[in-house]
């Protein structure tokens, strides 16, 4: 006997039809969510690392009141980053603080506080100059001229004893975008 389906009004068996369509929508939504949520999580997830300390060298290597550029391998790098994983900072030995009897350093980000370009140190004039938009800073990191809204960023440093030698260490910096670099703004 031929199926009489097409002769019946479509709402003849509402239960079955609506059930099927509801199950279809539901299954589709569940499938999309099961696939989509982890996918979006993958795309927009961010790695959170612990604070890494980088050793810049023995304290005695930094002469008093001299600015030195120090280049190091950023521990935040990937093993396949090559030379791109390098970073540099400017270190200035500020001598010993008389009150606390503590060795003071000025560790400045090598990246302009404007948009992150690399500043260059000019020893004779005591200025940092930026090649991009012309930002200029004094030796102490304060803004001297140009578009930067503030002075150079400071890095968080500490002096630790390693095998009897005082070593200068800084927190691995998020250069060159200057995001999350610092908890205490300079």
């Amino acid at each position: 006997m031929p199926c009489p389906c097409d002769q019946l009004p479509s709402n003849h068996q509402p239960g079955r039809r609506t059930f099927l369509s509801k199950v279809t929508y539901g299954a589709g939504a569940i499938a999309a969510a099961m696939m989509g949520i982890p996918f979006v999580g993958y795309l927009f997830g961010t790695r959170k690392g612990e604070v890494d300390w980088v050793t810049l060298g023995p304290v005695k290597d930094f002469p008093l009141s001299q600015t030195r550029q120090v280049t190091f391998d950023n521990p935040l790098r990937q093993p396949w980053d090559g030379m791109v994983g390098r970073a540099s900072v400017f270190v200035r030995n500020e001598g010993i603080n008389e009150k606390e009897a503590k060795q003071q350093f000025l560790v400045l980000a090598a990246n302009c506080a404007h948009l992150g370009c690399p500043v260059e140190w000019f020893q004779e004039s005591g200025l940092f100059m930026c090649p991009c938009h012309g930002g200029v800073y004094y030796a102490n990191g304060e803004r001297a001229s140009g578009p930067p809204p503030r002075g150079l960023y400071h890095c968080i440093y500490r002096v630790t004893k390693d095998k009897g030698i005082d070593q200068l260490q800084i927190q691995a910096p998020h250069f060159p975008t200057l995001q999350n670099t610092l908890k205490d703004p300079a």
Binding site: W80, G82, G116
Partner: protein
Amino acid sequence: MFRSVGKWFDARLGLREAVMPVLKHPIPRGAAGPMGWWYVFGSASLTLLLIQILTGIALALVYVPSADKAYESLLFLNYQQPLGWFLRALHYYAGSGMIVMMLVHMTQVFLHGSYKYPRELTWVLGVLLLLCTMGMFFTGQVLRWDPDAYWGLAIGGSMAGRVPVAGPWLVQILLGGPVIGGDSLSRFFTLHVFVIPASLIFFLIIHLWLVIKYGISAPPVPGEKVDPKTYHEGYEKELKNGVPFLGDAMLKDILFSSLAVIVIVIIAAVVGPKGPTGPPDPALAGANPRPEWPFLWLFALLSLSPPAAETFLILVFPLLLIGILFLVPFISNRGERAPSRRPGAVLTVIVIYTILGTLTYQGATSPWSPEMTAWSGDPIPINMVKDKTPLQLQGALIFQNKSCRNCHALEGSGGRRGPDLTTVGTRLTRDQLIDQVSNGTPGGGNMPAFGKQISPAQMTALVEFMANLRPAGVPAAEPASNRTKVKEYP
């Protein structure tokens, strides 16, 4: 034999039936005449896109999108892979040409009012295509993985970092990690090779579909106004008198595209590939990052704007510009089309291109940036040291050593951030010179204060040198107080 095989395939595929009517669709008679030369820029953009796809696939056969190997693979392409240099050059200049053609196409569509009813969506899709192409340019520059690429990412990241609240998260999403590295390169490779091209082709299909659906707009006639009520009737009447696209119009397209390709191939072969400018070592001194030419205007804008306006210019202004571009066909979608009856439209185009051109020129010359090597690289002009006293010569040395030259030119060579000091002795007195050098521009202006960096003896020599920088026979500047005294007590 071939003919019968071809016929068999066509009988099965039915391509001729589907494609020929599209190719032969009638277009307004005017668009096939001399006015038709205005209609060639869209198809030229398409031709260059095809070149980009071809050369892009070819380059991907050799290029390695890995942070520690990308630079080497580019050098391999430039110097060892046969014709690798040519493919790289072609990919760069065809991409540049694509932007130029799209801008000309867009300008033509704007001036002829072709974006008006019923082609608003075609315009919107066109804007999306332009944005995709700009995106290809930026991501493509990153793949070049040289200092410009690295610092371009740094600047892009710093801009994203200025977004309130979400800034740090956005930077991580953009760079793929807390610092620029392999994650960033993989990201931009994916954008450049998969995401943006797929979007671009998707938008292009809709753009072309709309072109076919609504037909090519007739050349504008002064006085013939666009009115949605009568437009379709008029256009159909025009098509009754129309000519098939497959004919003169298509020949013009092909001829112009061929010329464009010939010019671009010659430029690519003569000028050669662009970069990489150096190894991507962020610790390398002497980096002088510059954006690609389609972004020079933005670079200039950011340098010339006051700091207070900057976050607005970075975060809001581009969105405003894009929004306005999208809204163009909705702001005016009826009325006159002819440029002769739309002086406002003509003026807009002139003003926009003048601004973009000026900013791009400024960006290319970037007079605001210190000349980082001038202090040691640009000698003092001979006539400024010839027959001078030992004190003045000492001053000249200090002038170079203190890197004054990085911002101040002498006889046109040196930095241009500060004024040229060739004749400064005629403008400033000794006291004014000492004040300017020690304290800089008052209120933290353009010139840094050198007071702590210069000893009294050095200052004496420096001022002696500068006070004598004046053409022969021109007197030194004198304090205004001197002059008033003479006037009051003659």
